[in-house]
């Protein structure tokens, strides 16, 4: 992953992802630009989470799952034998749909992950900077030793984002990060994404069309085929996808006329 001259953070070639004999994602050829926000949209069950999880090898944990085709991270084959999945997960952070803080203090949620990932610097600084980046610092600076569970859902979600940032990944994957948040927290997270993209490449799965339209630079539209395998049917500038998409199915989906 040291080859950083590549224009794309992630590139897939004929990527298919299987659960046992079922192909959940078929033949995806996607190029994710560096330091941009790419949204993945599409109806439920079309394989968005499956695709996202393949990018940091989280599917490795699912027994029976397998991958064919290739995924390149900064030009390097992600599924090659020489790649360490743990190292991959450090470089590619993930924020899940439901906030999942550790049952520890706010401070430890950030410090612990960083420490086990070999962080050797000043931990206090790291905690503060990560919380500031996630727009949470002001709300928690006086109660860093309290349990993360005492935070509201929206604060927990931002804590998880802070935790993901703390390990200084290159790419952040977000699976519906704002679906459980109130409108203000949602907008905060979106503002945060704009900040984060100065340093990170971001992939975000969302069911909220306005969010995809507002917050992303590129959009990939996914849809299942007649064998229920999901694929990317259209990929373009977000502006184009939401004002004049090429594929009729994208048009139907973004205008709410699907199904």
């Amino acid at each position: 992953m040291e080859n950083n001259n590549n224009h794309y953070s992630i590139e897939t070639k004929d990527l298919s992802i299987h659960y046992g004999r079922f192909t959940a994602v078929r033949n995806v050829n996607l190029k994710v630009e560096k330091q941009k926000i790419t949204a993945i949209i599409g109806p439920s069950g079309c394989g968005k989470s499956t695709l996202l999880r393949a990018f940091n090898r989280m599917n490795d944990f699912v027994s029976g799952s397998s991958v064919t085709g290739e995924i390149f991270l900064h030009g390097r084959n992600l599924y090659s034998k020489h790649v360490d999945p743990v190292e991959v997960r450090r470089k590619i952070g993930m924020v899940f749909q439901k906030p999942n803080p550790f049952p520890k203090s706010i401070y430890e949620n950030i410090a612990w992950g960083a420490r086990i990932n070999g962080f050797k610097g000043k931990v206090d600084e790291l905690v503060e900077n990560s919380l500031r980046s996630a727009a949470l610092w002001d709300e928690v600076k006086d109660k860093l030793q309290e349990s993360a569970y005492a935070l509201s859902g929206g604060q927990q979600q931002r804590l998880c984002i802070a935790r993901a940032i703390a390990v200084q990944p290159e790419i952040i994957l977000m699976d519906e990060p704002a679906s459980a948040l109130d409108p203000i927290s949602t907008l905060r997270v979106e503002e945060l994404l704009q900040e984060l993209k100065k340093n990170y490449t971001i992939l975000i799965v969302t069911h909220n069309m306005q969010q995809a339209a507002r917050a992303s630079d590129f959009t990939a539209m996914m849809m299942i085929d007649d064998q229920r395998a999901g694929g990317v049917i259209e990929f373009d500038d977000t502006k184009k996808i939401f004002t004049r998409p090429t594929d009729k199915r994208t048009e139907d989906y973004v205008t709410g006329r699907f199904g």
Binding site: T243, R244, E251, T255, R257
Partner: protein, 229 residues
Amino acid sequence: MTRKTFENEIQQVKDDVLLLGSLVEHAIIGSVEALKKRDLKAAEKIIAEDVAINKKRFEIENQLMILIATQQPMAHDLRLLASTMEIISELERMGDYAKGIANINIRMGEDTLLKPLIDIPRMAQKGADMLHRALTAFVNEDVELANSIPAEDDEVDALYNQIYRELMVFIIEDPKNIERANWLLWVSHNLERVADRVTNICERTIFIATGEMREIKDSDDEFWHAQKK
């Protein structure tokens, strides 16, 4: 279809635009008719009816705003609602041209027409006819029709040029004609602008249907080209 209510509301907006369009058509034809007969009562009526045109336009604008806020339109829906906003403002301005003609009629007071009106009613008829078909193209999102109408603006421009030259001859013959020639020049200029705005409606219609924003015809220049020759 998952958005039946929204579809119905869109249809309602389109019907309202047609209604607004027909008010404007009547105002254009009516204002010239009143001028031809020098019927000041009819001219007053046109001016009074412009209030109804403006009111209708605001009604539609409000309805569009509610739809944008509540339905969060995307893609085709977004193009339709945003462009309709533009189209109703074009229609309101066309209504203003008709009102302008009615005002000229009133300001002419006791003056008689410099000449019997022949080409001016033709211009009005042509403009109103183009408008009618442009709105048919709009409600049906008929790209072919929308594409074909702007070329007819040439006929309107030709009539305008002809009227202009005719009036110049009157002025050269006798400078006392200047004021009365000027009234008619204003009237024909207003009608020329009507046709230009029809072109804008056609462009918006093509944008709604295809997502392509392009200028079909830059008719503003043509009058000046014609004068140079």
